[in-house]
Amino acid sequence: MSSALDAGIDADRPRSAGWVVVPACAFAVAVSVLAIAPVSALGLEWLREVDGSPSGSGEALALPSPLPLLLRSASVAVAVAIVATMLVWPAARRARARRDAEWRERSTPAARAGRGLLAVLCACIVLPIALPPWILYAAIWMSTGPGTLVGDFAERNDLVSWQRLAIMAVSLVAWAGAPAFVVLAAVRPATRDASLLALDGAGRWARVRSAFARDSMALLVSVVSLSAFLLGETTVFDLAQFSSYGYELRTLDSIGAPASTVFAAGLPSVMLVAGIACVLPFLAARLRGARAETRGCGDRPEYTPTAGLGAWRAWAFGVGGASPIALAAIPAIVVVALLLRIAFSIPRAGDFWGQHGDALLASVLIAVCAAAVAAVIAALASLLLAVCSAWRGSIARSMLVGSLLMLLLAGLVPGTLAALSIVAFLNTPYLGGIYDSPLVVVFVLVMRALPVAVIVAWGTHLLEPVSRPRLRSLDGTSLRAAWLGLMPRVRLAFVATAALAVPWSLGELTASSRLVPPGIPWLASDVLNAIHYQRPETVVLAVLGLICVALPAVVLLVRGLGVVGRPLRAPTMVALAALLVGCGGSDSTVADAADDPVTAFLRSAAPEVRDALAVDATLEGVGRGKGQFNAPRVVATDPRSGAVYAIDKDARVQRFDRDGVVQAEWRMPKSDRGKPVGASVAPDGTLVVADTHEHRLVCYSPEGELLWTLGGYGTEAGQFIYPTDIAFLPDGRMLVAEYGGNDRIQAFDREHRFMYQFGRCGTADGEFLRPQALQYDAARDELFVADAGNHRIGVFTADGEWRRALGRPGAGAGEFRYPFGLLLLVDGHAVDALADGAPASGRRTLVVAEQTNHRIQEVDASTGQPLGIGGGIGRGRGRLKYPWALAAAGIGDGGRQRLAVCEQGNSRIAFFTLPLGEVGGSDDPRGGEE
């Protein structure tokens, strides 16, 4: 009956799938061309070189004995693939049995606990798929250094070299075991031999032999595909000091060998992966053929001896039977435990976000884009494989299979060759725009993820229950029916590829680090450098971040295997929460006792400041949400309404009320060239922003309505280059400071007409190097200019007459390093805040925020004598990191002036009250600079 049904369906298939011939051909052609074009470009370059004059590169630029190296690398790859596959094979078999076992259906607490345990163990086996093997290596290596049991033992017995190799083997096996487990656990057994033999009471070895014969094709697929992946791995071999083919290829490229020479050296590996690419579909076809023999019974659950057992005996059977799974999970458990051990041994996670946040974000974004493209390719391939499967001998089917082979080949070439291929293909006048953008990284990551896409697509084809195509055919021949019938496998291909390709892309290093364009931070490179320089905090936090990113893939895989169902949710959530708490918890520890490397670095160059600021409130939180900042550099306050305006490096303006609640937010009209660095509230309550990198002023209403703009790029009167700050005089004049070779101050009248200018770029009296902030004392006609580059406060009249300078370069009291923020006080109160203007009498003092001394200093406005110092570098309350701007923020406790300072380095705005600490609290042993 079955065969009759099949015959009827097969006869019907070509008609039902006829609509797909054209897209199948188009997909095949387009994807093949895109995938193979870069490699072809490199090959053409090589051919031209061979045909033309000799390359001229000496012996130094040739790979010495490439074949032995290739054989050595291939041997290791095959050995690791075999060991990993055989290690997880029993676990995979158990997982398959559990998937179909009756005990998983029980709902007793014991059964649920057993399922939960099984879920965690399976997740542990699959987890390394989310991490590149070189990170697994680093985690173990860093945990077994000098002073540890293993490290000391290895040193005492002169076994450190063996320790390296052992760690390399463990990390590679742990990594390779994950995909092997997925492949083997996903393949449904073709026959019932094992169950029947178990009933017969056959011996253990007879059952093992039978199982091996039954799974031989799946085992072979696992070994071959893993070998291909491992052959492309380079970094873990580098770290283990194991000379590999990939390392020599990369070295050849790095030391300046022409691309054609590198290609010639890599040609044997290309031929090898071409062979693998051809073998894999053949094996896949055999695997599918083996499954096809059991049509009609392939979807039935296996017999399990738990039927009829009591709850606790079933639980004992379940847990006891899971021992192979526990065994296979050990390497991953060890790695995760070591990572957590390092994480908890770090006194303070430190400024990971400040240092590597951009890299993590950029890398995740790029990886997601690459994974999305790869997932689309996988989905299309899965769709077309389903439709074309009945078209034996047809052109469309041949083209599709050919294109998949091309994809495999392009994806499996060594990373260095992949990178050079992209260079040869994109680094041209026509495609240079892509080469110069992050899209080049997306391109190469898609290329590297192609094998994942192809294998997943093929997997959805192979592992689809054999009844599914027949059921599909019953839907009819319409396009809609075909589409709906294929939707599940297409969706599976898309989601699985996306979930796998994201962590895969994040860990890719060989090709991406060769291509990443300037200005784009790449997390994998950062982590590798951190490994070299033994910065465990960076490595651990990056790895925990990667695990968080990859958890969806792990969950998807484990659930997709059907080993466990809903119980996975709870442990997953617990693990995720633990990881997040681990990351966030350590970050929240802001004690100054232990610094991250960057803060420690900065501290070594910054003066010691004893007294922290008397901070009573902060606005902080890194991000793009309301009330969050990305490195704020501007703060301005409206003394009448109490509003606080802040602008950060996202060019986002936020207006807060007195209680720190966001009242309005908007973005600057243009920001791709840079972000504002200054702003002031005008007497009429509007906000005038120095739109620095757009070389103009922009005025907004408090609600964010753009009212006017002034100026444009230029050195003429009324034009600006990098305006920094604005001061409003009681007579209506508006003074604007600027720099960028145009270092001067321009005056405008009420109608924004240019009046006069003074100052120029230089270091002499009356000259500026980046005038960054302005304050005006109308009662004494004194304009104070924070002359950042000259490390001084220049004092002028409003008409530009030079009076004096305050301070000198240095880190001592009364000295400045990059004074960026400035606020004038009269008898301890801000001039801005005085309702009736500044009185002629009264002591004038200046509060100065020093950007690279990371402190606030109060000095006498007449003499420059230091009066108080507070802050000092750090993240703790009252400490500062790269303070930029100062503004008055009302009156604090005891009637003292309250100020706001924005810190670019800590991404926050801190509110503090005067007075500052005593001058003696600052101690710089190096003294001031000349």
Binding site: I255, L474, P518, Y882
Partner: protein, 392 residues
């Protein structure tokens, strides 16, 4: 008994799609359409978000990324110029970036090359890939540390050193590493005595070239020094291992007891000491006591302008001027790298001193360094094919 779906089996099985309600079909189609419409703008958005600042200055740098990031951040703050840095990994360093600049010669992407050593800029200058330094900046810098042809400026130097386990005696001469009695000096010698970074990258190859040049000149003058070939052979006999991963890997190998002596730079050694690793460092002399210019080799940072880079000239020059300023040198000297300032009137308290640095013909050494490094590695590893005649 519940169905298989309830147990979490292959969930896709349940959607056999026979008689699927129309609304599901619409929903799924809408979902795919949404993906189709959302993905391209999202990709474009990412590309836009990641695009580097159009006005920025692109700096290729082979300096340790934490140090370089901090210095460049200060530079940004001081000059107001946005900087797009490109780092390379510790393993490949200067060599890879030099190769990258060469490969991009038709369409340069770098404005400035801040190298952690001095040979790469000489080779790039020889091949016409650099633009002249502005006269004002160039003339303000001490003459010994600038290129007469205005192609580059050297600043903030490190020194080549030997690291040993704490308590082990340090060699006083570089030639001691080839001495047959080396193992006898160590309390508990490892099976591999000496750790050397792959000389094809970074400062190790430059060091070999410098020693070759200096020893050849000294030999010609009658000073008793080894040839580079003899020195490499001696080290091989004592037991040497070439490490992938740069000088940091050699320090790590000594700290873990895998090797007894490691050839490295002061920055890697001092950083490791600061981390608490049980090592000490020494500055062996290259030539015997009494021979002037015979101390250890100083490895300066160098900075150069890449010819036809994409940035505007003015911001590029301002960044360069800041990098070779007193502020920059002071920052680097105060950093964990503890580099020696080379600019005018700088005095800092460093944990090491080299009052008589090695004098050698840097131009000639830079010309030979790449080829010599390949042969030196082969010689250290005992590979006869490529090892012949490392030194001239």
């Amino acid at each position: 008994m519940r169905g298989r779906r309830a147990g979490g089996g292959p969930r896709v099985d349940s959607r056999a799609c026979i008689d699927l309600p129309r609304r599901n079909w619409l929903r799924q189609t809408a979902r795919w359409l949404a993906i189709g419409f959302v993905a391209p703008p999202a990709l474009a958005g990412c590309a836009r978000a990641l695009r580097s600042n159009a006005d920025s200055v692109t700096v290729y740098t082979s300096v340790d990324d934490v140090l370089a990031r901090t210095v460049l951040a200060q530079c940004e703050a001081a000059t107001g110029v946005a900087i797009s840095p490109l780092f390379d990994t510790e393993a490949t360093k200067t060599t890879a970036l030099e190769g990258r600049i060469r490969s991009e010669r038709e369409r340069p992407r770098a404005d400035l090359f801040w190298s952690s050593e001095g040979f790469a800029v000489r080779r790039l200058a020889r091949d016409g890939l650099l633009a002249p330094i502005p006269e004002g900046v160039w003339s303000a810098w001490p003459a010994p540390h600038r290129d007469p042809d205005r192609n580059w400026i050297a600043f903030a130097a490190r020194a080549r050193v030997v690291v040993t386990k704490v308590g082990d005696p340090s060699p006083t001469m570089w030639a001691d590493l080839a001495s047959p009695s080396l193992a006898a000096r160590v309390q508990r010698p490892a099976s591999t005595m000496i750790a050397v970074a792959d000389p094809r990258f970074g400062t190790t190859g430059a060091h070999f070239a410098a020693l070759d040049d200096a020893w050849r000149r000294a030999g010609d003058a009658g000073v008793e020094v080894p040839t580079l070939d003899a020195w490499l052979d001696g080290m091989r006999r004592n037991g040497v291992r070439v490490y992938q991963g740069g000088n940091a890997a050699t320090v790590d190998a000594v700290a873990r007891g895998e090797c007894s002596f490691g050839l490295t730079d002061t920055d890697d050694a001092l950083a490791a000491i600061a981390r608490g690793l049980p090592i000490s460092m020494s500055l062996p002399r290259s030539l015997p006591e009494g021979v002037s210019g015979g101390g250890t080799m100083l490895v300066p940072n160098t900075v150069a302008i890449v010819r036809s880079g994409p940035g505007q000239r003015d911001p590029v020059e301002r960044v360069l001027a800041w990098l070779v300023s007193a502020d920059s040198e002071r920052l680097i000297a105060d950093s964990p790298s503890r580099n020696l300032p080379l600019g005018p009137a700088r005095s800092v308290d460093l944990p090491y001193a080299e009052s008589d640095p090695l004098v050698f013909d840097a131009l000639a050494a830079s010309e030979r360094a790449a080829d010599l490094a390949v042969r030196a590695k082969a010689r250290l590893e005992g590979s006869a094919a490529l090892a012949a005649g490392v030194g001239r």
